[in-house]
Amino acid sequence: MYDQTGLPPVLEVEGLCVGADLPEGMKPILQDVSFSLRPREILSVIGESGAGKTVLARTLASWLADPLKVTGGSAKFRGTDLIKDPAAARKLAGREIAYVGGNPAGALDPTMTVGAQLVEKLRAVRPEIPAAEAKQKAIELLDAVRIPSAAQRFHEYPFQYSGGMMQRAMIVDALISDPALLIADNITQPLDVTVAAQILKLMRDLTGRFDTAVLFICSSLPVACDASDEVLVLNKGRVVERQVPERLISAPQHTYTAQLIRELPKLWDGTEAAPAEERGEPRPIMSVRGVAKHYTAKNRAQGGTNVVQAVRNVEFDVFQGDNFGLVGESGCGKSSLMRLLTGLERPDAGTILFEGEDIGSARPARIRELRRKFQLVLQDPYGSLPPQKSIGAILEEPLKIHRIGDRRERRERARSVMSEVGLSETLYEELPNGLSAGQRQRLNVARAMTLEPRLLIMDETLSALDQTEQHKMLDLFERLQAQHGFTYIFISHDLAMVRRVCSRIAVMYLGETVEVAPNDRLFFDPGHPYSRALLSAAPTLEERRYRPEDCLLEGEPPSPIDLPPGCAFASRCPQAFDRCRSENPGLTARGGRALAACFLNPRRGEETAQTTPETTHA
């Protein structure tokens, strides 16, 4: 694959060094980075967080902010040295060198329509193109990235786009000026697996069509291998390896790469035993029965309000000491369900029993008391900590809230949980803003732990961390569980993580639990076509049990506003038949304590979920 085009390279990086100019001296970030890139080539850059991937991307996009400075080397774009001639580099930026970031949400001016900004950008870098033509090109490209009814969407505002659509729009923004080089910095990280897979596919199509070279920055090895022609491994600011994916996996040259591959969670690898369910007398700590929640949203177009069915027919039990997984894509109702489980909101129907008490109908004061026993660890390591409070104060806050202990006792407790989660006690008076994402999540966990709860709900707690950090956190969770007997609910979109830690897993789609099954059963014998689609899209280096071509369908889930009458998945299901479109299958036992909501499963009698053995304890 290398050199296959025979064209001269677009980008030649030679001995590039970048450092951070700090008061205490120059701290090297990138050291002696060299590589070249040819048209139509996709080069992945991989490495753990802090390896300098983003700094590399930004250096090439002329977007280095203080205190970062290039300290040596060159980066030639078609012969122009971007380092020596910053003015020329800035002229190229946006025109020949396009950059797409990993945070599409804030990337466009919220007060202008997406279309207008695409046209604006194109005409900024290529003023010779008339407005009408620019508009036409933008719509064509929006269409090319499979944004539905692109001509209409052209006139919509960024906030009207979903995350996946925004990311695609940003790709359009980058490609609209026909750049020779596209720098894609972590573009799939915030996306759901099915969407990410679509985007990757799209990117490959487009490079072929426009002769674009792509520098693909990525923190997930499977995604990188999937996406690119070659992979560049960056470790502590140095290039340690450059290989085609197959060779990289089969014969990693560098120890770091080897470790990366080793630590990669496997979905179907039987060598590591999946966590087994508690046997014997399982006692549910939390039982969810027929829970539903809807929201009303204003309809801007026609006036009036729409009813959004965020959560419907959710059923499951979580057993004492268990690790329960709740998976699904964004918009599937996981977050709404989390708010219900934690008593932040009350369900419209159904019951949520925590140790036999209904959270859904308890008095607010009682819920506050119960909160000592179940705690939530939030997803965003940055937004979930109160700003401007010291770490010590954050940890003591729950104790103050529940009026536990005196000043000294609280301080001791805070220090002890800090050491338990692996935070240095010297950080007690510090602000969290100096902490890394992993440290912050430790802090979050520590905060949840101070009250010594029975149940911890982890809402995407690990999804913002890189693979190495995730690994360490999971070890921490295991240790804590062993020490304190916690029960965990992991809400996640990361199948690999769930596969590693959870004993039972519920799959949600459009507000419903479509499948609840033990770990092995779900991965080896999923009972719902949607589960199979998820598995097919999961990033992995293994050979897939489910081929995306068979399971993965184009498009996004239907809007939860006007749900079809039958099975919600029917519109995307390759196996859907008439009954699916008229009747909702409901969770049905399929033996081995597994349930699925699909008519394709052989019925064992007419048992419904409510009468399965696991629920009889409730």
């Binding site: 967080s49 909160r371 979930s384 109160p386 700003p387 806050e397 010297t426 602000l431 803003n433």
Partner: protein, 304 residues
């Protein structure tokens, strides 16, 4: 964003276990601007508190035969006895300005604190609870905002002899809605953030979240802006004096001095100008400190 790869673990630059607020103060104090501001402000404050008493010069003592003596070096007939000259009744301008500063700071600060307190409370509640509580409170705010201040002033101050408390009340009443609005929109934005949800999950009551979590967070920037209002309120007080609704003589507030001295601007420019100079000095010194403090906060809290 991801480029924060460069961030240095705080453990390496940590000051020995010192509370965050004291660190902010130290950082602010390290800046020259803060020190200049503090020096000017302290001089003004001490002068205002002590000079009239220590010097034994009675700011209400008239000496009509020495009226409109210019400040030193500023024209004919100046004397060191009256460094800033005398007013239209021969009273010492320095003593009057300093006592006036005392009253004006009292009026300006108390009024601003009053409107900040009322506005912040209403804005906080409206922004936190939203929905119908918000609608009711904000329409109430609009109603208050749409009543011209002068009409409130004549009704409230017309009832009785205008006193400093009643003037503070009038000005405070007229000013709070602005803060309610700012507060509400800030709280609404903060309310949606994860950490608020986090606090709820920990079992914090609404009261605790509003007053112990959100308030300390959103108040400082608003309070920083409010410094301008302290000055504005001092000036407003002079408008009341101008309309005959000000603090009664012989109490020398800036408002009285400016409103009375205005007539003599062409003969004795210093009478109406001195309060403005003192006002500007006070305000600039507070602003210098406020800005340094704000910068120190931003630096400490990482720009957030």
């Amino acid at each position: 964003m991801a480029s924060i790869d460069t961030s240095v673990p705080s453990a390496t630059r940590r000051a020995e276990a010192r509370s965050i607020s004291s660190r902010i103060w130290r950082l602010a104090f390290a800046s020259t601007e803060f020190r200049i501001g503090l020096a000017v402000f302290s001089v003004l404050l001490f002068a205002a508190l002590l000079y009239p008493e220590l010097s034994g010069i009675d700011p209400t003592k008239m000496n009509i035969r020495a009226k409109m003596t210019p400040p030193v070096f500023m024209g004919e007939g100046w004397s060191w006895a009256h460094p800033l000259g005398t007013d239209q009744l021969g009273r010492d301008m320095l003593a009057r300005s300093l006592v006036g500063l005392r009253y004006s700071i009292l009026i300006g600060v108390t009024t601003t604190v009053l409107m900040l307190a009322v506005g912040a409370l209403i804005g906080l509640v409206a922004g936190y609870y939203g929905k119908s509580i918000d609608t009711v409170l904000m329409r109430l705010t609009d109603a208050q905002l749409s009543i011209p201040m002068i009409i409130l002033a004549i009704t409230i101050l017309g009832v009785s002899r205008p006193t400093i408390p009643s003037i503070i009340l009038v000005l405070g009443l007229a000013g709070w809605p602005v803060y309610a609005r700012v507060m509400r929109s800030t709280v609404m934005a903060e309310r949606k953030k994860e950490y608020v949800r986090g606090a709820m999950v920990l079992g914090a009551t609404d009261f605790r979240i509003m007053f112990l979590l959100l308030l300390p967070l959103v108040l400082p920037p608003i309070a920083f802006v409010a410094v301008l209002d302290v000055a504005r309120m001092m000036i407003f007080e002079s408008v009341l004096g101008f309309l005959g609704l000000g603090v009664q003589p012989p109490t020398p507030t800036f408002g009285n001095i400016i409103a009375d001295g205005r007539k003599y601007l062409l003969n004795a420019w210093w009478i109406a100008t001195m309060p403005g100079v003192f006002l500007c000095l006070t305000l600039t010194s507070i602003n210098l400190m406020g800005a340094s403090l704000e910068r120190a906060r931003n630096k400490t809290y990482g720009g957030a």
